[in-house]
Symmetry: D2
Subunit: 260 residues, 4 copies
């Protein structure tokens, strides 16, 4: 089976780009039996709203993952609890809204476990992502397992890849908004990439307009960040998984530039 995973969608530019190009992408690299996207920045660059979430589901995604920004919009917490196709990192402590993993059916009826985890290096201190991963997978009995590891440090991401190698179908990094070139099949059959990248306007700084970001770096004071509308790119990976073994057989990196 072929799984499409789209990197952090940043604001409206990212959503429009996706809607307009998903079909063509499928015709070139698909068909995709299962479609996931990281949506933590899909609404205005920070978090998610119900409307934006539904817009993404209507494009045909089976599951949306997220990360640290999913808590940005306060009135969204109830949606997090009720919409089971939307995940937040599983290693947030007990009592936190939403769910960190879920079981899904692909278009062809294959059962897929998707696990969302978050790193702790240079990020807020939450529960251990490694032990949480182990705990979820041990109990799951699933063949096909997709892990979105939302993390900053390359070391923590690669460590997770090796830690889960052979136990899951793929470990796909998100959060840095820059795609890495190290896609690979690890020795025991897990597809891995340090970061899938982002989908949206990349002309500025990781999806935001240059001016606000530069001001923060040059002055050290808060500034307003606006979603960047230029330099549209779509970052994703396509992972081929043998559904009988759960092992990945291929990982294809997609870095489409729609606008210079």
């Amino acid at each position: 089976m072929k799984i499409l995973f789209v990197g952090d969608i940043v604001g409206r530019p990212g959503r429009v780009l996706l809607r307009e190009n998903l079909k063509q992408l499928e015709s070139r690299f698909g068909p995709f039996d299962f479609r996931i996207a990281n949506a933590e920045n899909a609404a205005g660059g920070f978090g998610l709203t119900e409307k934006v979430m539904n817009e993404l589901f209507s494009m045909g995604f089976h599951c949306l993952t997220s990360g640290n920004h999913i808590w940005d919009k306060k009135d969204f917490l109830e949606v997090l609890d009720s919409e089971r196709r939307l995940l937040r990192p599983a290693n947030y402590p007990p009592g936190v809204h939403g769910q960190g993993y879920g079981f899904f059916l692909s278009d062809k009826g294959t059962r897929v476990l998707v696990v969302n985890l978050q790193g702790r290096v240079f990020m807020p201190p939450i529960d251990c992502p490694f032990r949480k991963a182990e705990e979820i997978i041990r109990d799951s009995n699933a063949e096909v397992v997709v892990v979105d590891f939302h993390a900053e440090a390359t070391s923590e991401k690669k460590a997770m890849g090796l830690f889960l190698d052979g136990k899951v179908s793929c470990v796909l990094g998100t959060h840095t908004h820059v795609q890495t070139a190290d896609e690979q099949i690890l020795p025991n059959g897990t597809a891995y990439i340090t970061d899938v990248g982002m989908t949206g306007g990349h002309a500025g700084v990781i999806g935001m307009e240059k001016s606000g970001v530069m001001e923060r770096f040059l002055k050290g004071t808060p500034s307003k960040f606006e979603v960047c509308k230029e330099g549209l790119i779509l970052n994703a990976v396509v992972v081929e998984v043998d559904e009988t073994t759960g092992k990945a057989t291929n990982i294809l990196r997609i870095y489409e530039v729609y606008e210079k």
Copy 2:
């Protein structure tokens, strides 16, 4: 002119790999008029020694850049002061050993200014890399300028790329040891990549063996890091620069896997 820039060389595996393959690389992607490598991890994974430095210069590098690890070996500080072909980040405070930029002559006699800078996001607080960059370049009167921006955060790196766009020939990121797939020529003619990656054994975690790194992530306690000897890769970029304007005309990403 063609400039070769090799990503962080990690220990002996990285050095041996380079020595054995540099010529063949040149025959495929060169000739390289100017050769640079980041050497902050070249000696046992942490810092540099005089012997290792000379080994690298003997391979034909015109200039070695570095980063936060260059201070790891204490008896190396005098070498930092005397060897002008070796750079450390220029935005360390006044009084620190070594130099942060230098002028070099390419094989064809073109004057090249190399500037080494270090980021501050998720890194020790030193002087502002943006203002330091501006100050060095303003006074330099050089056409061809190569910047190694040794930094962790993708946002700070891309911000530096845009900040220097049109003022330098290239801004090449280092430090994360994972190559990114976003090499590009920025609108005003500066070649850019968020991270060039690393050169050495990549089977473990960013150049180190898996076991020591895993222990630190799983237990939170110190552990011994050993250089990884397996999964040899060579990460580099080749930047083509018009030496009359100093503008980049092309950036080619090299990710050679010598051993799975």
Copy 3:
């Protein structure tokens, strides 16, 4: 001369407490020839407004210092530029609104230089506070110099105290909102305390109500912080300075509990 320095005023509870008790404080520990307070949290716990600032000046403060929170209210930036009795940390980069030091006249006509600085350990990376301090003091020609060092780490604060010992009248720490018990006259005549503490409702967590803070610690997700109205305390120090030499002769710690 006697200088009163009041620790971070947190919201309305802190302001009301000050207004109601400043006179009585003066009758017990004064008279105070010069009065300073750190006001970075004076408006609702985050930043400052023009109205709140004027309320504080009307209580008789000669100078208000601040810190990282002074940027919280966006429409306040113009006031920062125009009101020269209000300081923000001096080691923010060039181009930032406001001023980092100022010359004032005490009630008895003594010239006082007040310098506001901010640490960088566990705080945003700005310019070096040590070199900035040196630069301001070198050029000042002032006898009486008060330094508010707004910083997190005890090590950085004590290092600043020793760095400026003998060059300024006092180095008074702020930012942690908990008063330390290490007030002392350093060997060369500078009065020092790691943190003056806070003024406001201390029953919760550093001036904020318990519930919002606990949620953040227990869940790792954002929560709303409300100013704490209970457990009112006033934290300050009184520094006696010989105005002919600029040396401190005494530092008295004030920790008044107005409500258990």
Copy 4:
């Protein structure tokens, strides 16, 4: 009963000071039925050795707590496992050497549970100290419970105090090496102080000599830290606990200056 808790002992100066003054301290503030000290810096400022540990036990301490530095001396890990009177923070992950809490008998035969915890703000990401505290206490059935919360941020420490208020006899902060002036009995009977401080040479920077620390702050490069031998102070608290209820009735702060 009276419990003595001595703040982080730094190197030989701290140990000598303790040995020479413990008796006199007891005659003034005691008798102490139970004696604890934080020993994470007792051996040369970094970690602990078996010899130094035994030296401390021979002074009459019932229990030694520690913190992040306890892992500094590698050949000490076996001692951590075998010596049950020595604690390391309990919220390190499963599989880590040593124990995080223990039951002890006071001189008068009262059972005392000592729990060592470590914060996560500005510190390495380990397990949640709040949930770990709750878990240990729930299962303990102890009346008298002493908590050493080894943490950096004042907010996290006060939050722990309020979280455990009424459930333990005292929450005593360590790690910053500067004593705070906020000792108090919380509303439900738990004695609290943000930081007990340190015991050793305080003339430099938090127990270390000024020169090495200043170099790191001024240059941003590594430097050698030497234990400070001057400005000897002894920081401690004496907590009075009603052993039938486990509630604290008093907390006395001790800040003895033995040498200016």
